[in-house]
Amino acid sequence: MEISITVNGEDYRRDVEPRLLLVHLLRDKLRLTGTHWGCDTSNCGVCVVLLDGVPVKSCTVLAVMASGRQVRTVEGLERSDGLDPVQQGFIDRHGLQCGFCTSGMMMTARWLLDHNPDPSEREIREAISGQVCRCTGYENIVRSVRRAAELEAGS
């Protein structure tokens, strides 16, 4: 099937199998490998991207369902004047170790801060509760998102 999709502001047209998952479109066809894949059951969240601004698990979305819509991935976080505060927050507070869950965590964090610029620890924990990290025990992810909020408030 012919799809057209906007990813990080760029338009792509592709002829894809109807069963192709969005995560595989991004990774294998568009070569945007910053979005990861980690489970068969939509439980892990390493695949989270923003679809029309809303976090979705890209392993549960068919590429054809994303046709005509806007996707934002980790590759689209950095701004012309430097890192997004979320990226800087994760660096500053050691919010990542192996880096595998990080893209998904940051995309959710970006969405959270867009809607709630001053989230509490509890709100951050709830926002990322559908995503698993095996390395950080979440503590520094929470601190990273707080740090991002501070950076954003300061800028």
Binding site: L32, G38, Q87, L96, C98, I128, G137
Partner: protein, 799 residues
Amino acid sequence: MTATQIPARVPTPTPTPVGYGSIPRKEDARFVRGRGSFVDDVQLPGMLYGAVLRSPYAHARIVSVDISAAEVHPKVRAVITGDMLDKRGMAWMPTLFGDVQAVLATDKVRFQGQEVAFVVAEDHYAARDALSLIEVEYEPLPALVDAKLALAPDAPLIRDDLDGRTDNHVFDWSAGNKAATDDAFATADVVAECEILYPRVHPAPMETCGAIASLDRVSGKLTVYATSQAPHAHRTMYAQVTGLPEHKIQIIAGDIGGGFGNKVAIYPAYVCAIVGSILTGCPVKWTEDRSENLMSTAFARDFHMHGEIAATSDGKILALRANVLADLGAFNGTAQPTKFPAGFFHMFTGSYDIAAAHCEVRSVHTNKAPGGVAYSCSFRIAEASYLLERMVDVLAHDLGMDPAQLRMRNLLRPEQFPYTCATGWEYDSGDYPTTLRLALEMAGYDELRREQAARREGGGDAPLMGIGLSFFTEAVGAGPRKMMDILGLGMADGAELRLHPTGKAVLRLSCMSQGQGHATTFAQIVSQELGISPDDIEVVEGDTDQTPFGLGTYGSRSTAVSGGAAVVVARKVRDRARIVAAAMLEALPDDLEWAEGRWQVKGVPSTGKAIAEIATAAHSGLELPEGVEGHLDATTVYNPPNLTYPYGAYVCVVDVDPGTGQVKVRRFVAVDDCGVRINPMIVEGQIHGGLADGVGMALMELMAFDANGNHLGASFMDYLLPTSMECPSWELGQTVSPSPHHPIGAKGIGESATVGSPAAVVNAVLDAIGVRHADMPLTPAHVWRAMQGRALRTDVALE
């Protein structure tokens, strides 16, 4: 003492300060941009994709495998079966413990999820499609699921592939002094016993396992991109399996999305990808899905333990005994030093002064996946520590003593170090009582007990409050070559350090980060020794063509062994720099001193030469003394003199809903002593992750099997991992007892919290519900049953 503050953004271009400290990680720049290079991110020209057909049965004879329909699928390029491999002598491969494991089954399948056939196709959807075109006829056999029945006379024989094998017994092993232990038990005032299971769990890193094999038919060179915690050991093993010469094999482990022991072994599908590349002449990528990961790759633990502890009536522990039944699954794929078939389990006297101890471990095969030594277990010290910390609580329960007091009474005292325990381990350093006191103080232990007493008084439907302790000691950094090898490969690590003419450095190591931040920590180690910024030191690891030989990263051995190598090699460079500086200053090397990161004439700081200047001179035409070569490079092999012994004291506070058995971890205090901390921020991150593991294993993670050997935890819907909601905000503290034999006194931290935390959580839950023992995972259902006095086995669902 509070947790170390992580510094705010260090604005570039200010150079990162020399030496140790909480500096941001070098690795992060690529990950936060989505620019990591994990194996599934690698795309080679002409690459094909593999998929594995797996057995639906736990135990069955293979009658026939018909691949004809799959072979004619338009996108399929090759289909590989066990019989085809057998003709090449590759149907079986060695495991990490000298057993063999089927690459693709020829005779029987021995666990659910075992590899039966491998398809190579043009894309991974097509490869998966083709799997359904393969017809396998099985003759199901009775499955052996319960390890306790493995040696029954009517148990099905699993390993009939091995000549002369008549039962499912693998090995018996023992350690300690039996006579002295029996004597102590015979005369003790009190003996407490308990059956304790450390259930089968899975490391489940967020990135599953995978490999890309690419054989160049012209040069004969095989390149394998792989999720490998031990690239050099993998190269040697591939040489053995494939018959290719070792110098024609290159392993490239790029970024690894978590390992935790899951990526130490070589898995059958890696070998299949190699064969696929040999057959097609194209690179072949294989990455497993999550169910494959949970069903077929290295699980951990599965120790059925019987513990006994002997003590005086006032709580002095006299002796310890353990009888263990280890379920290894269908093949013995345990990864640990050869001399220790049960790993380091016999370090089970832990942190206490126990005069006599004896343990016996018997291991058996069952119809389950192979593995056992993984999930940050420090070669089975996880099992030992859990057993002991549970037994101490059981003793406290029987004696009616406070578990903190009982521990304090029996902890090793500082003046006993170096201390040789009853089973022969030589502990290097520690001040245990201080660490425990700090943990109790941070937790507000007495106040917590008062709150608990008040709550109990109150009764009613209020949550039940529990306080759990654990005090663990690990032995990590395997290990001295004389005692420790894996498959005959001694466990020493190489290091190479090269200084460029401008004074920038490249450090090449054999270990392999899976998120531990090696690029940062090891640069800091060299930085401290040479007085140059970590920014100026590039750390290379993971590519066997670029790095010296060594055994890899697991068992918390990176800082302890490769870290030692990094120090030694940097000091070699520094010593050579002294000779060059002497030539520069027209002085004698003996007249120089190393001060503030420079070589200077003793007492004359103005003469100081920094390493960068010396490096430039070393590459110049400067005349050097007779016999001194130019340049500023060095290599070393670090053979650790002993293991290092990190330890810690943990306190967990839980609330249990009496109606549902639901556990909420309210607080978790962790005081770790891992010797000198190079990057405290990274150390604390390692601890956080391990604490989450403990919450997961204690409360959620469950891999049970039904009577037919069906794996009941084969997806993340059933194998539950802790999320941000189950984890509390960790409260960390530290004490520092440097290792006297490690060149910078560091001990290693990677696995401490995973080893130490499960017991604290379980002890807290059982303290809350007033039950002497119940097995992990303490899911609401299991807690509720335990509260009714009807605890069930958690490992099997036999009805």
